[in-house]
Point group: D2
C-alpha cells in the first residue's frame, strides 16, 4: 500500500479551502452534513429508474459526466473531513474490510441471500 | 498523480464481493443508496452536539474508532460504485476541483461569507 | 381541511421536549439533520432488496412494525421542525401540490416516462 | 385524536399520482429513497450556517418559502409511502412516542446532557 495515499488530494483541497478562507466552515459537523447531502444528490440520479433505464442513462456521456461529478463531490468532502479528523482513509478502508471479513464469513454468506440481508439489517 | 491510484482497493473489494456472490446486489442504484445510508450514519455521530462537544468526542479513542469506521464505510461503497461505473475517483476529484476553482474564484470569495453561502445554495 | 390539523401532535411533542429540557438541542439545523438521518434509517430497510423481497418483508409483522416506527421517527422530527419554524405542514403540503400540478401538467406527463424522469431530474 | 387524520391528503396525492400514471414508480423502495433525498435538500438550507445566520435566513420571506416547500416535499413523499404501506402516520406517531417515553424517562434525562446524547447514539 505504500504507493497509494491520498495526501496530495488532501493537500490540494486544504490549499483550496485556505485560499478562500473557508476553514471556519469546515467543522466536522458541517463536513459530515456536506458528505451526506452530496451522497443524496448522487443517489437522486437513480431515483424512479429501473436498472435497465440506469444502463441507458450511463451510456449518455453528458449524464455520465454529471454522475462522475457527484461521485467527486462525495469523495472531496469525505477527504476533507478525513483530513480535519486526521484519519487515513486508505488505512481505515483496510481496517474496516478486515472487520467485514469476520462479520460476513464466506462460508456462511455465499449463495445465501437471507443471511446477507438479515446480517446487514 | 501516477503514484496515487485506488486500483488495489477496488480490486480488494471486487474480490470480497465476488467471494460472497454479492455482485447481483451491487447495482448502481443499490450502491448509491448504500453510500447515502452510510453517510447518514457518519453524520449521526455529530447530531445534537456543539463543536466543543465534538472536540471532546474526538478525544475519546473508542468513539474516534467508530467514526473512522463510518468514514471507511462511505469510502468503501463510493469506491465500489465508482468501480461498477468505471469512474476513476482520483481523476474525477481533480476534474471537479477545476470546475470548483472557476465557480468559486478566490478574489470573489475570500472573506465574503454571503458570497460563499449564496453561491453554494 | 378545517378538521385536519396537526396541532395536537405538535403540542404533544413540544411538551415531551420541554419535560426533558431538550429545547436547546432542537435548533432548525439539528432538527433538519435528524429528519435526514431518520429518513436514511427508513430507506435502509429496503436496501439490497428487490420489490418482490420487499413485499415479503412487509408481510412480516415484526419488520412491518419496525418500518412503521421509522416512518414515525421521520414524521416526528418533521413535525417538530415545522413547529420550531412555525410552518403549517398541511397548508405547506397543499401549497406545494398546487405548484406540482403546474410543474407536471397531466397532459404532458401521462404515459410519458421520459418527461417524468427528465422533469424530476 | 378523532378529528385529526391525514386521509384527505393521502387521497389528494393518490389522485395526483393516478392522473399522471405514476403509480408504477411509487414502489416502497423508490418512495423511501425520495423521502431521504428531499430530507437532504431540506437540510442543505442550513449547511455551513451558524444558528444566528439561520435566524436571519428565516426572516427572509423568499427563503422561508423555499424551506416551507422542502418541508412539504418530505411530508408529501412520507404520506405517499405511508399510504402505499397502509400505515396510519398519526397512530404511528403516538405509538412511537409512547416507546420514546419509556426509552427516555424524564427523571433520568432532565438536565443531563450526557444521558441524552449517549442514549440517542
Amino acid at each position: 500500500m505504500t504507493e497509494t495515499n491520498l495526501e496530495k488530494l488532501k493537500e490540494f483541497y486544504r490549499k483550496f479551502t485556505k485560499e478562500r478562507e473557508w476553514d471556519k466552515y469546515h467543522t466536522p459537523k458541517n463536513l459530515a452534513m456536506a458528505v451526506s447531502i452530496e451522497a443524496s444528490e448522487l443517489q437522486e440520479h437513480f431515483l424512479w429508474k429501473t436498472e435497465d433505464e440506469i444502463k441507458e442513462l450511463l451510456n449518455n456521456s453528458e449524464k455520465k459526466e454529471k454522475i462522475k461529478d457527484e461521485l467527486a463531490d462525495v469523495f472531496a468532502f469525505l477527504l476533507r473531513l478525513s483530513d480535519v479528523l486526521d484519519v487515513d482513509l486508505i488505512k481505515a478502508f483496510y481496517d474496516k474490510m478486515e472487520k467485514n471479513k469476520k462479520k460476513y464469513p464466506i462460508d456462511k454468506i455465499k449463495g445465501n441471500f437471507k443471511k446477507y440481508t438479515e446480517i446487514s439489517d
